[in-house]
């Protein structure tokens, strides 16, 4: 039996795709622990500053490319690096069924 190769991250989440946190998944500032958290069914994930910044721009309106543009401008960072980090985070959340592509 052969296992098909998993789809590349660029195919799972192309530049034009619009990602959004699924219903029942949200971020919030956690006063008690002084950190950003991602809350999902049976999960609470501590977000570092970079992940929190990426998710703050993932609003269900912007395409992936637009998200990267906003982040590159806001943080004056190289676009290529941001694209790699952001795609890694968002595809990982897709695998966990916390993120979906709305169009």
């Amino acid at each position: 039996m052969t296992t098909p190769l998993p789809a590349a991250p660029e195919d799972r989440l192309p530049d034009a795709a619009v990602p959004k946190l699924s219903r029942g998944v949200r971020t919030r500032w956690d006063e008690a622990r002084e950190t950003h958290m991602l809350l999902a069914p049976e999960r609470a994930l501590r977000l570092d500053a970079i992940a929190a910044a990426i998710l703050a721009e993932t609003d269900g309106e912007r395409s992936f490319a637009a998200i990267v543009d906003v982040l590159a401008e806001k943080y004056a960072a190289p676009r290529e690096q941001i694209a790699v980090d952001a795609r890694k985070l968002l595809v990982d959340l897709m695998d966990k069924r916390m993120m979906e592509v709305v169009r």
């Binding site: 219903r23 029942g24 919030r28 006063e31 008690a32 622990r33 958290m37 069914p41 609470a44 069924r97």
Partner: protein, 372 residues
């Protein structure tokens, strides 16, 4: 009497990390009679249940002390007519809300109302993949058919769904079908959980105990399905203690991650903690939740690593599994501060495994159903 909100002036509260999650057991009442019910053998009655106002205050206190997730549970939480009202209090307090239900007691109108009020997530239990098996296990005729309707109402509302499947010798050979059912119902997640042999399950353990072969087959099916269903269904797997080498980090560690409030307001470190006879539990009617969490005798009895026997204290897994399950130590070793007998290093480990193998080899006796 109301819920306590403040301590006498000058009282010092110990500083411990805030709990992440609270299990709110709204009632022990339940139409189902599952032979592995995790509620205590002695259950409080409806007349002893906290009022709507008392629960509302507990929810607000929980949010203030740093709880992130609240799990409405029971019994069957839908048996409380004020479930919707309490949900709204929790949503307003900023809590992530989860409803753990059998589905019985929910109607289409109630599911719509819960959704509109902002319910974040539902966990729906399934006892089997066909009506006759499921209803035999749950002890409630028509339960399976109703659950299927409830799942459709949940899907229509778009509320994220987890299917809870408790596995044991009577349904383990249907693991693959159970996972398929979860996909069909549109669940994002399934918990494939081997029965925890506590509470009522301890009474029924001979009819629940799986064979080694059943457990191995189930684990293999889960491994395969996890890969195949990536991005469709997340599978959380709870392996059985009786066939394990090392214990689980029960509750993520005693008094470390979560707390449990019973229908009458007792605050427990774990829902089965009342099976440890010498522990005394504080009640939200007498003390604020934060003080109970930090300073309550029951919480500090097995918190951290200082209480551990030599065997655990010198073990490099002590902060991996936090000594395992105290209730299991109580049940099999007769001592709640003993090493969990699920651990290969426990002197009771072999006896627990042998008992499991003997019980699994026998013809399963009929279920002993609990009655309210």
């Amino acid at each position: 009497m109301n819920v306590q909100t403040a301590l006498p002036e000058g009282t010092r509260v110990r500083r411990v990390p805030a709990p992440m999650a609270m299990l709110a057991e709204l009632t022990y009442r339940c139409p189902l009679k599952c032979p592995y019910c995790s509620n205590p053998l002695e259950m409080s009655k409806r007349s002893e249940e906290l009022s709507t106002e008392q629960w509302a205050e507990v929810l607000r206190q929980a949010a203030r002390m740093g709880v992130l997730h609240v799990h409405f549970s029971g019994g069957e939480p839908a048996a409380r007519r004020d479930l919707e009202e309490l949900l709204s209090v929790a949503v307003e307090a900023g809590l992530y809300t989860n409803l753990i239900t059998s589905g019985v007691g929910l109607t289409e109108a109630r599911v719509k109302d819960l959704s509109a009020r902002g319910l974040d997530h539902i966990q729906l239990s399934v006892q089997g993949t066909d009506a006759s098996t499921a209803d035999l296990i749950g002890g409630y005729r028509g339960g399976f058919e109703h659950k299927m309707k409830v799942a459709a109402w949940i899907a229509a509302e778009g509320i994220p769904l987890t299917v809870n499947a408790v596995m044991h010798r009577r349904n383990l050979d249907r693991t693959a079908e159970t996972i398929d059912l979860a996909v069909r119902l549109g669940a994002r997640r399934i918990e494939v959980a081997h029965t925890q042999i506590h509470g009522w399950a301890y009474v029924n353990r001979a009819s629940l105990m799986p064979t080694r072969e059943q457990v191995d087959a189930c684990s293999a099916i889960v491994d395969e399905a996890r890969e195949r269903l990536k991005g469709t269904l997340v599978i959380d797997y709870v392996p059985p203690d009786h066939h394990a080498k090392y214990p689980k980090a029960c509750m993520g560690g005693w008094g470390r991650v979560g707390l449990n409030v019973t229908p009458s307001g007792k605050v427990l470190p774990c829902h089965a903690a009342e099976s440890i006879p010498h522990l005394v539990f504080d009640n939200v009617k007498d003390k604020p939740l934060a003080a109970i969490w930090a300073d309550g005798a029951a919480f500090n009895a097995y918190r951290g690593t200082d209480w551990m026997p030599e065997l655990c204290r010198t073990c490099d897994r002590k902060e991996v599994d936090w000594g395992g399950c105290r209730c299991q130590a109580m049940a099999y070793a007769g001592d709640a501060s003993a090493t969990d007998p699920a651990c290969i290093k426990s002197p009771h480990h072999v006896r627990m495994q042998e008992l499991a193998l003997t019980e699994a080899a026998d013809v399963p006796p009929d279920y002993v159903y609990r009655t309210m």
